[in-house]
Protein backbone atom coordinates (compact mmCIF):
# COMPACT_ATOMS: atom_id res chain seq x y z
CA UNK A 1 0.00 0.00 0.00
CA UNK A 2 2.76 2.35 1.06
CA UNK A 3 4.74 1.44 -2.01
CA UNK A 4 1.85 2.46 -4.21
CA UNK A 5 1.60 5.83 -2.52
CA UNK A 6 5.30 6.38 -2.99
CA UNK A 7 5.05 5.43 -6.60
CA UNK A 8 2.26 7.90 -7.15
CA UNK A 9 4.13 10.69 -5.46
CA UNK A 10 7.17 10.07 -7.62
CA UNK A 11 4.95 10.11 -10.63
CA UNK A 12 3.40 13.46 -9.84
CA UNK A 13 6.81 14.92 -9.18
CA UNK A 14 8.28 13.88 -12.47
CA UNK A 15 5.20 15.02 -14.33
CA UNK A 16 5.72 18.48 -12.94
CA UNK A 17 9.33 18.32 -14.10
CA UNK A 18 8.22 17.16 -17.50
CA UNK A 19 5.74 19.99 -17.74
CA UNK A 20 8.42 22.55 -16.91
CA UNK A 21 10.80 20.88 -19.29
CA UNK A 22 8.38 20.94 -22.18
CA UNK A 23 7.48 24.56 -21.59
CA UNK A 24 11.15 25.39 -21.43
CA UNK A 25 11.63 23.64 -24.75
CA UNK A 26 9.14 26.10 -26.16
CA UNK A 27 11.23 28.97 -24.94
CA UNK A 28 9.57 29.67 -21.60
CA UNK A 29 12.19 31.28 -19.39
CA UNK A 30 10.06 30.97 -16.26
CA UNK A 31 10.01 27.21 -16.65
CA UNK A 32 13.77 27.07 -16.92
CA UNK A 33 13.88 29.21 -13.81
CA UNK A 34 11.51 26.82 -12.05
CA UNK A 35 13.78 23.90 -12.92
CA UNK A 36 16.73 25.93 -11.74
CA UNK A 37 15.10 26.78 -8.43
CA UNK A 38 14.16 23.20 -7.85
CA UNK A 39 17.54 21.67 -8.57
CA UNK A 40 20.04 24.43 -7.83
CA UNK A 41 21.05 23.28 -4.40
CA UNK A 42 21.14 19.58 -5.16
CA UNK A 43 23.25 20.05 -8.26
CA UNK A 44 25.53 22.56 -6.58
CA UNK A 45 26.04 20.28 -3.61
CA UNK A 46 26.57 17.31 -5.90
CA UNK A 47 29.32 19.08 -7.85
CA UNK A 48 30.98 20.14 -4.61
CA UNK A 49 30.99 16.48 -3.66
CA UNK A 50 32.49 15.60 -7.04
CA UNK A 51 35.12 18.31 -7.10
CA UNK A 52 35.33 20.09 -3.74
CA UNK A 53 35.67 23.25 -5.80
CA UNK A 54 33.15 26.03 -5.37
CA UNK A 55 34.09 28.08 -8.42
CA UNK A 56 33.96 24.98 -10.58
CA UNK A 57 30.54 24.15 -9.18
CA UNK A 58 29.08 27.42 -10.37
CA UNK A 59 30.66 26.97 -13.78
CA UNK A 60 29.26 23.46 -14.04
CA UNK A 61 25.76 24.65 -13.20
CA UNK A 62 26.04 27.33 -15.82
CA UNK A 63 27.12 24.76 -18.42
CA UNK A 64 24.32 22.41 -17.44
CA UNK A 65 21.63 25.05 -17.77
CA UNK A 66 23.08 26.29 -21.04
CA UNK A 67 22.88 22.72 -22.31
CA UNK A 68 19.27 22.56 -21.20
CA UNK A 69 18.26 25.90 -22.63
CA UNK A 70 20.05 25.54 -25.96
CA UNK A 71 18.86 21.94 -26.12
CA UNK A 72 22.29 20.48 -26.56
CA UNK A 73 21.16 17.97 -24.01
CA UNK A 74 17.69 16.59 -24.46
CA UNK A 75 15.64 14.71 -21.95
CA UNK A 76 13.74 11.64 -23.04
CA UNK A 77 11.03 10.80 -20.53
CA UNK A 78 10.87 7.19 -21.69
CA UNK A 79 14.39 6.65 -20.37
CA UNK A 80 13.83 7.58 -16.76
CA UNK A 81 13.13 10.33 -14.34
CA UNK A 82 14.03 13.93 -15.02
CA UNK A 83 15.95 14.17 -11.76
CA UNK A 84 18.17 11.21 -12.74
CA UNK A 85 18.75 12.78 -16.11
CA UNK A 86 19.72 16.19 -14.82
CA UNK A 87 22.13 14.82 -12.22
CA UNK A 88 23.68 12.62 -14.91
CA UNK A 89 24.21 15.61 -17.20
CA UNK A 90 25.66 17.46 -14.24
CA UNK A 91 28.03 14.64 -13.42
CA UNK A 92 29.37 14.40 -16.97
CA UNK A 93 29.67 18.15 -17.26
CA UNK A 94 31.61 18.24 -14.01
CA UNK A 95 33.89 15.39 -15.06
CA UNK A 96 34.58 17.11 -18.38
CA UNK A 97 35.31 20.46 -16.79
CA UNK A 98 37.56 18.94 -14.17
CA UNK A 99 39.52 17.21 -16.90
CA UNK A 100 39.59 20.31 -19.05
CA UNK A 101 41.06 22.27 -16.21
CA UNK A 102 43.66 19.54 -15.94
CA UNK A 103 43.35 19.69 -12.25
CA UNK A 104 44.37 16.49 -10.68
CA UNK A 105 41.61 15.74 -8.32
CA UNK A 106 43.12 14.78 -5.05
CA UNK A 107 42.65 11.09 -4.51
CA UNK A 108 44.32 11.21 -1.16
CA UNK A 109 41.19 11.87 0.70
CA UNK A 110 38.11 9.93 0.14
CA UNK A 111 35.08 12.07 -0.32
CA UNK A 112 33.53 12.05 3.07
CA UNK A 113 30.74 9.68 3.65
CA UNK A 114 28.58 12.41 5.02
CA UNK A 115 27.40 12.31 8.54
CA UNK A 116 23.83 13.23 9.08
CA UNK A 117 23.60 16.89 9.78
CA UNK A 118 20.99 18.75 11.73
CA UNK A 119 20.64 21.48 9.14
CA UNK A 120 20.21 19.32 6.11
CA UNK A 121 16.52 19.85 5.56
CA UNK A 122 16.07 20.42 1.86
CA UNK A 123 13.20 21.67 -0.22
CA UNK A 124 13.63 19.00 -2.83
CA UNK A 125 11.40 16.16 -1.69
CA UNK A 126 13.37 13.46 -3.45
CA UNK A 127 16.59 14.60 -1.81
CA UNK A 128 14.95 14.81 1.57
CA UNK A 129 13.53 11.35 1.17
CA UNK A 130 16.69 9.72 -0.06
CA UNK A 131 19.64 11.44 1.55
CA UNK A 132 19.52 9.68 4.90
CA UNK A 133 18.90 6.31 3.30
CA UNK A 134 21.69 6.60 0.78
CA UNK A 135 24.17 7.81 3.36
CA UNK A 136 23.29 5.02 5.71
CA UNK A 137 23.56 2.47 2.92
CA UNK A 138 26.97 3.85 1.96
CA UNK A 139 28.14 3.63 5.54
CA UNK A 140 27.27 -0.05 5.58
CA UNK A 141 29.72 -0.86 2.82
CA UNK A 142 33.22 -2.03 3.64
CA UNK A 143 35.93 0.60 3.41
CA UNK A 144 37.20 -0.88 0.19
CA UNK A 145 33.78 -1.01 -1.38
CA UNK A 146 33.08 2.57 -0.43
CA UNK A 147 36.42 3.63 -1.84
CA UNK A 148 35.75 1.90 -5.16
CA UNK A 149 32.33 3.53 -5.41
CA UNK A 150 33.86 6.88 -4.55
CA UNK A 151 36.69 6.61 -7.09
CA UNK A 152 34.40 5.35 -9.80
CA UNK A 153 31.29 7.42 -9.39
CA UNK A 154 32.28 10.58 -7.54
CA UNK A 155 35.81 10.93 -8.86
CA UNK A 156 35.08 9.54 -12.33
CA UNK A 157 38.33 7.56 -12.37
CA UNK A 158 39.30 5.16 -15.11
CA UNK A 159 39.37 1.47 -14.43
CA UNK A 160 43.15 1.40 -14.39
CA UNK A 161 43.31 4.29 -11.95
CA UNK A 162 40.94 2.49 -9.62
CA UNK A 163 43.04 -0.67 -9.89
CA UNK A 164 46.12 1.33 -9.00
CA UNK A 165 44.53 3.20 -6.13
CA UNK A 166 43.01 0.10 -4.61
CA UNK A 167 45.83 -2.29 -5.40
CA UNK A 168 43.56 -4.52 -7.39
CA UNK A 169 44.26 -6.46 -10.56
CA UNK A 170 42.67 -4.55 -13.44
CA UNK A 171 40.38 -7.44 -14.31
CA UNK A 172 38.75 -7.52 -10.89
CA UNK A 173 37.76 -3.85 -10.67
CA UNK A 174 34.50 -4.21 -12.53
CA UNK A 175 33.38 -7.19 -10.47
CA UNK A 176 34.23 -5.48 -7.19
CA UNK A 177 32.44 -2.31 -8.20
CA UNK A 178 29.30 -4.10 -9.27
CA UNK A 179 29.27 -6.07 -6.06
CA UNK A 180 29.67 -2.88 -4.02
CA UNK A 181 26.88 -1.15 -5.91
CA UNK A 182 24.59 -4.11 -5.51
CA UNK A 183 25.20 -4.15 -1.77
CA UNK A 184 24.38 -0.49 -1.73
CA UNK A 185 21.12 -1.02 -3.54
CA UNK A 186 20.24 -3.90 -1.28
CA UNK A 187 20.81 -1.82 1.85
CA UNK A 188 18.73 0.90 0.28
CA UNK A 189 15.78 -1.31 -0.46
CA UNK A 190 15.92 -2.82 3.01
CA UNK A 191 15.73 0.68 4.45
CA UNK A 192 12.89 1.63 2.21
CA UNK A 193 11.08 -1.49 3.33
CA UNK A 194 11.76 -0.46 6.93
CA UNK A 195 10.28 2.95 6.33
CA UNK A 196 7.18 1.48 4.77
CA UNK A 197 6.63 -0.75 7.79
CA UNK A 198 6.90 2.10 10.23
Amino acid sequence: MMAVVKEKKGCVMSNRDLEYYQKMMNGDKQSLEAIYDKYEKLLYSFVIKLSSDHSLAEEVLQEVFIKLWTQKAQYDETKGKFSSWIVTITRYTAIDLIRARKESVSLEEETDVPEEKGDSVEDLVEWKEKSTDVRRALSQLSDEQRRIVDLFYFKGCSQSKIAEECNLPLGTVKGRLRLALKHLKKHLSIQEGGISDA
Binding site: N26, G27, S45, W69, T70
Partner: protein, 255 residues
Amino acid sequence: MRECEKVLDYFNNELSNTEREKFEKHLESCDECREELEELRMLTDDLPFSSDPVEPPEGMKDRVLGAVFEEDKEVSEDQVVPLNEHRSKEEGPAHAPKPRGNRQRWMMSGLAAALAVSLIGNVYILSNGGEESVSEPPISESTDEVNSRVLLQGEATTASATAAIIRQNESQLLTLQAEQLDQLEGDQVYQVWLLAGDQPYRAGTFVANSNGEGAVAFSMDQLPADIDWEAVAVSKEPDAESQTPQGEVILSSTL
Protein backbone atom coordinates in the same frame (compact mmCIF):
# COMPACT_ATOMS: atom_id res chain seq x y z
CA MET B 1 41.63 -4.73 -23.64
CA ARG B 2 38.65 -6.71 -24.75
CA GLU B 3 35.66 -4.59 -25.59
CA CYS B 4 33.61 -6.01 -22.74
CA GLU B 5 36.18 -4.70 -20.30
CA LYS B 6 35.60 -1.13 -21.35
CA VAL B 7 32.19 -0.71 -19.79
CA LEU B 8 33.45 1.27 -16.81
CA ASP B 9 35.63 3.56 -18.87
CA TYR B 10 32.77 4.08 -21.27
CA PHE B 11 30.47 4.96 -18.41
CA ASN B 12 32.99 7.46 -17.10
CA ASN B 13 33.60 8.96 -20.51
CA GLU B 14 37.24 7.91 -20.38
CA LEU B 15 37.46 6.48 -23.88
CA SER B 16 38.95 8.33 -26.81
CA ASN B 17 36.61 9.12 -29.68
CA THR B 18 37.72 6.13 -31.73
CA GLU B 19 37.54 3.81 -28.75
CA ARG B 20 34.10 5.10 -27.93
CA GLU B 21 32.80 4.57 -31.43
CA LYS B 22 34.21 1.09 -31.46
CA PHE B 23 32.65 0.32 -28.12
CA GLU B 24 29.29 1.69 -29.20
CA LYS B 25 29.40 -0.64 -32.19
CA HIS B 26 30.17 -3.46 -29.80
CA LEU B 27 27.22 -2.45 -27.64
CA GLU B 28 24.86 -3.07 -30.50
CA SER B 29 25.77 -6.73 -30.53
CA CYS B 30 26.67 -7.40 -26.88
CA ASP B 31 23.67 -7.85 -24.61
CA GLU B 32 25.90 -8.35 -21.62
CA CYS B 33 27.58 -4.95 -21.93
CA ARG B 34 24.26 -3.22 -22.51
CA GLU B 35 22.85 -4.82 -19.41
CA GLU B 36 25.92 -3.93 -17.37
CA LEU B 37 25.66 -0.31 -18.46
CA GLU B 38 22.00 -0.20 -17.61
CA GLU B 39 22.78 -1.78 -14.27
CA LEU B 40 25.48 0.80 -13.56
CA ARG B 41 23.04 3.57 -14.32
CA MET B 42 20.41 2.05 -12.13
CA LEU B 43 22.70 1.24 -9.23
CA THR B 44 24.30 4.70 -9.16
CA ASP B 45 20.99 6.48 -9.59
CA ASP B 46 20.59 7.41 -5.95
CA LEU B 47 24.18 8.38 -5.21
CA PRO B 48 23.84 12.12 -5.95
CA PHE B 49 21.32 12.31 -3.12
CA SER B 50 24.04 11.48 -0.64
CA SER B 51 25.55 14.91 -1.28
CA ASP B 52 25.91 17.15 1.75
CA PRO B 53 23.76 20.22 1.29
CA VAL B 54 25.94 23.19 0.47
CA GLU B 55 24.46 26.65 0.28
CA PRO B 56 25.16 28.15 -3.17
CA PRO B 57 26.94 31.52 -3.08
CA GLU B 58 25.05 34.79 -3.07
CA GLY B 59 23.75 35.83 -6.47
CA MET B 60 24.61 32.57 -8.22
CA LYS B 61 21.14 32.21 -9.69
CA ASP B 62 21.29 35.62 -11.35
CA ARG B 63 24.76 34.97 -12.70
CA VAL B 64 23.96 31.51 -14.02
CA LEU B 65 20.60 32.35 -15.58
CA GLY B 66 22.03 35.62 -16.88
CA ALA B 67 24.78 33.71 -18.62
CA VAL B 68 22.31 31.15 -19.95
CA PHE B 69 20.06 33.71 -21.58
CA GLU B 70 23.08 35.71 -22.73
CA GLU B 71 24.44 32.57 -24.39
CA ASP B 72 21.18 32.15 -26.20
CA LYS B 73 21.46 35.65 -27.57
CA GLU B 74 25.03 35.13 -28.68
CA VAL B 75 24.15 31.91 -30.40
CA SER B 76 21.39 33.51 -32.39
CA GLU B 77 23.41 36.58 -33.22
CA ASP B 78 26.28 34.49 -34.43
CA GLN B 79 23.99 32.76 -36.79
CA VAL B 80 22.58 35.91 -38.29
CA VAL B 81 26.04 37.19 -38.94
CA PRO B 82 25.44 39.77 -41.63
CA LEU B 83 22.89 41.62 -39.53
CA ASN B 84 25.23 41.62 -36.63
CA GLU B 85 28.05 43.15 -38.61
CA HIS B 86 25.92 46.05 -39.58
CA ARG B 87 24.56 46.93 -36.22
CA SER B 88 25.28 50.47 -35.26
CA LYS B 89 27.26 51.14 -32.15
CA GLU B 90 24.67 53.39 -30.57
CA GLU B 91 22.10 50.68 -30.58
CA GLY B 92 21.21 49.05 -27.32
CA PRO B 93 21.43 45.32 -26.79
CA ALA B 94 19.29 43.27 -29.10
CA HIS B 95 16.37 41.39 -27.65
CA ALA B 96 17.25 37.82 -26.96
CA PRO B 97 15.11 35.58 -29.08
CA LYS B 98 13.71 32.47 -27.54
CA PRO B 99 15.18 29.18 -28.51
CA ARG B 100 13.05 26.79 -30.45
CA GLY B 101 13.27 23.12 -31.04
CA ASN B 102 14.52 23.59 -34.54
CA ARG B 103 15.93 27.07 -34.15
CA GLN B 104 19.47 26.10 -34.91
CA ARG B 105 18.63 24.14 -37.99
CA TRP B 106 16.36 26.85 -39.26
CA MET B 107 18.74 29.67 -38.55
CA MET B 108 21.40 27.83 -40.47
CA SER B 109 19.09 26.88 -43.27
CA GLY B 110 19.60 28.12 -46.76
CA LEU B 111 16.65 30.45 -46.77
CA ALA B 112 17.78 32.33 -43.72
CA ALA B 113 21.33 32.50 -44.95
CA ALA B 114 20.26 33.69 -48.38
CA LEU B 115 17.94 36.25 -46.86
CA ALA B 116 20.60 37.54 -44.51
CA VAL B 117 23.15 37.77 -47.28
CA SER B 118 20.74 39.49 -49.58
CA LEU B 119 20.35 42.27 -47.07
CA ILE B 120 23.93 43.28 -47.65
CA GLY B 121 23.26 43.77 -51.30
CA ASN B 122 20.31 45.61 -52.66
CA VAL B 123 18.06 42.69 -53.37
CA TYR B 124 14.63 43.09 -51.94
CA ILE B 125 12.44 40.10 -51.72
CA LEU B 126 9.05 41.51 -52.33
CA SER B 127 6.49 38.85 -52.22
CA ASN B 128 2.87 39.55 -52.89
CA GLY B 129 1.25 36.43 -51.67
CA GLY B 130 3.54 34.15 -53.60
CA GLU B 131 6.69 32.31 -52.80
CA GLU B 132 9.62 34.48 -52.10
CA SER B 133 12.22 34.36 -54.82
CA VAL B 134 15.71 34.70 -53.56
CA SER B 135 18.09 35.63 -56.31
CA GLU B 136 21.84 35.49 -56.19
CA PRO B 137 22.84 38.36 -54.00
CA PRO B 138 25.12 40.83 -55.66
CA ILE B 139 28.11 41.65 -53.55
CA SER B 140 28.25 45.36 -53.06
CA GLU B 141 29.45 47.97 -50.66
CA SER B 142 26.76 48.85 -48.24
CA THR B 143 25.97 51.11 -45.38
CA ASP B 144 23.30 48.94 -43.89
CA GLU B 145 22.48 49.52 -40.31
CA VAL B 146 20.11 47.59 -38.12
CA ASN B 147 17.89 50.12 -36.42
CA SER B 148 15.95 47.69 -34.35
CA ARG B 149 15.49 44.00 -34.07
CA VAL B 150 12.70 42.29 -32.18
CA LEU B 151 11.25 38.91 -31.48
CA LEU B 152 7.57 38.39 -32.28
CA GLN B 153 5.50 35.98 -30.29
CA GLY B 154 1.90 35.07 -29.84
CA GLU B 155 -0.37 33.78 -27.12
CA ALA B 156 -1.88 30.89 -28.97
CA THR B 157 0.95 29.65 -31.10
CA THR B 158 4.36 28.06 -30.94
CA ALA B 159 5.34 30.11 -33.98
CA SER B 160 7.79 32.93 -33.58
CA ALA B 161 9.52 35.43 -35.80
CA THR B 162 12.41 37.81 -35.79
CA ALA B 163 11.97 41.19 -37.41
CA ALA B 164 14.55 43.85 -38.12
CA ILE B 165 14.42 47.30 -39.60
CA ILE B 166 17.50 47.97 -41.62
CA ARG B 167 18.53 51.35 -42.91
CA GLN B 168 20.20 51.32 -46.28
CA ASN B 169 21.40 54.76 -47.20
CA GLU B 170 18.14 56.73 -47.35
CA SER B 171 15.86 53.70 -47.48
CA GLN B 172 14.54 51.41 -44.82
CA LEU B 173 13.92 47.74 -45.14
CA LEU B 174 11.82 45.59 -42.85
CA THR B 175 12.85 41.96 -42.73
CA LEU B 176 11.01 39.24 -40.95
CA GLN B 177 11.66 35.55 -40.65
CA ALA B 178 9.22 33.23 -38.98
CA GLU B 179 9.33 29.61 -37.93
CA GLN B 180 7.00 26.91 -36.68
CA LEU B 181 4.14 28.42 -38.62
CA ASP B 182 0.90 26.61 -39.26
CA GLN B 183 0.31 25.54 -42.83
CA LEU B 184 -2.01 27.81 -44.79
CA GLU B 185 -5.08 26.84 -46.73
CA GLY B 186 -6.27 28.05 -50.11
CA ASP B 187 -5.39 31.68 -50.78
CA GLN B 188 -4.41 32.38 -47.19
CA VAL B 189 -1.24 34.33 -46.55
CA TYR B 190 0.67 35.62 -43.60
CA GLN B 191 0.49 39.39 -43.63
CA VAL B 192 3.03 41.59 -41.90
CA TRP B 193 1.78 44.86 -40.41
CA LEU B 194 3.57 47.87 -39.07
CA LEU B 195 1.55 49.80 -36.56
CA ALA B 196 1.57 53.45 -35.65
CA GLY B 197 -1.12 54.56 -33.28
CA ASP B 198 -4.08 52.36 -34.11
CA GLN B 199 -3.31 52.43 -37.78
CA PRO B 200 -1.97 49.24 -39.37
CA TYR B 201 0.15 49.47 -42.53
CA ARG B 202 0.72 46.54 -44.83
CA ALA B 203 4.34 45.54 -44.73
CA GLY B 204 4.68 42.44 -46.86
CA THR B 205 3.10 39.03 -47.15
CA PHE B 206 4.56 35.59 -47.08
CA VAL B 207 3.56 31.96 -46.98
CA ALA B 208 4.96 29.08 -44.95
CA ASN B 209 7.02 26.40 -46.59
CA SER B 210 6.54 22.76 -45.70
CA ASN B 211 8.84 23.19 -42.69
CA GLY B 212 6.65 25.99 -41.35
CA GLU B 213 9.21 28.65 -42.20
CA GLY B 214 8.57 31.88 -44.00
CA ALA B 215 10.40 35.11 -44.59
CA VAL B 216 9.90 38.49 -46.15
CA ALA B 217 11.87 41.65 -46.80
CA PHE B 218 9.80 44.76 -47.32
CA SER B 219 10.95 48.10 -48.63
CA MET B 220 9.54 50.73 -46.30
CA ASP B 221 9.84 53.37 -49.01
CA GLN B 222 6.26 52.52 -49.88
CA LEU B 223 5.12 53.70 -46.47
CA PRO B 224 4.64 57.26 -45.32
CA ALA B 225 7.96 58.70 -44.20
CA ASP B 226 8.75 59.93 -40.68
CA ILE B 227 6.38 57.64 -38.87
CA ASP B 228 7.37 56.44 -35.46
CA TRP B 229 6.55 52.75 -35.74
CA GLU B 230 5.24 51.32 -32.52
CA ALA B 231 4.73 47.67 -33.29
CA VAL B 232 5.06 44.94 -35.83
CA ALA B 233 2.57 42.11 -36.16
CA VAL B 234 1.77 39.11 -38.30
CA SER B 235 -1.75 38.00 -39.02
CA LYS B 236 -3.22 35.15 -41.00
CA GLU B 237 -5.31 36.63 -43.81
CA PRO B 238 -7.82 35.01 -46.17
CA ASP B 239 -5.83 36.34 -49.12
CA ALA B 240 -3.12 38.87 -49.95
CA GLU B 241 -5.60 41.72 -50.42
CA SER B 242 -6.48 42.67 -46.84
CA GLN B 243 -5.99 46.39 -46.28
CA THR B 244 -6.59 46.00 -42.56
CA PRO B 245 -6.22 42.82 -40.50
CA GLN B 246 -9.21 40.53 -41.19
CA GLY B 247 -7.80 37.46 -39.58
CA GLU B 248 -6.34 36.95 -36.14
CA VAL B 249 -3.02 38.49 -35.25
CA ILE B 250 -0.83 35.54 -34.38
CA LEU B 251 2.48 37.22 -33.63
CA SER B 252 3.43 40.67 -32.49
CA SER B 253 6.04 42.77 -30.79
CA THR B 254 6.51 46.38 -29.92
CA LEU B 255 9.33 48.16 -31.68
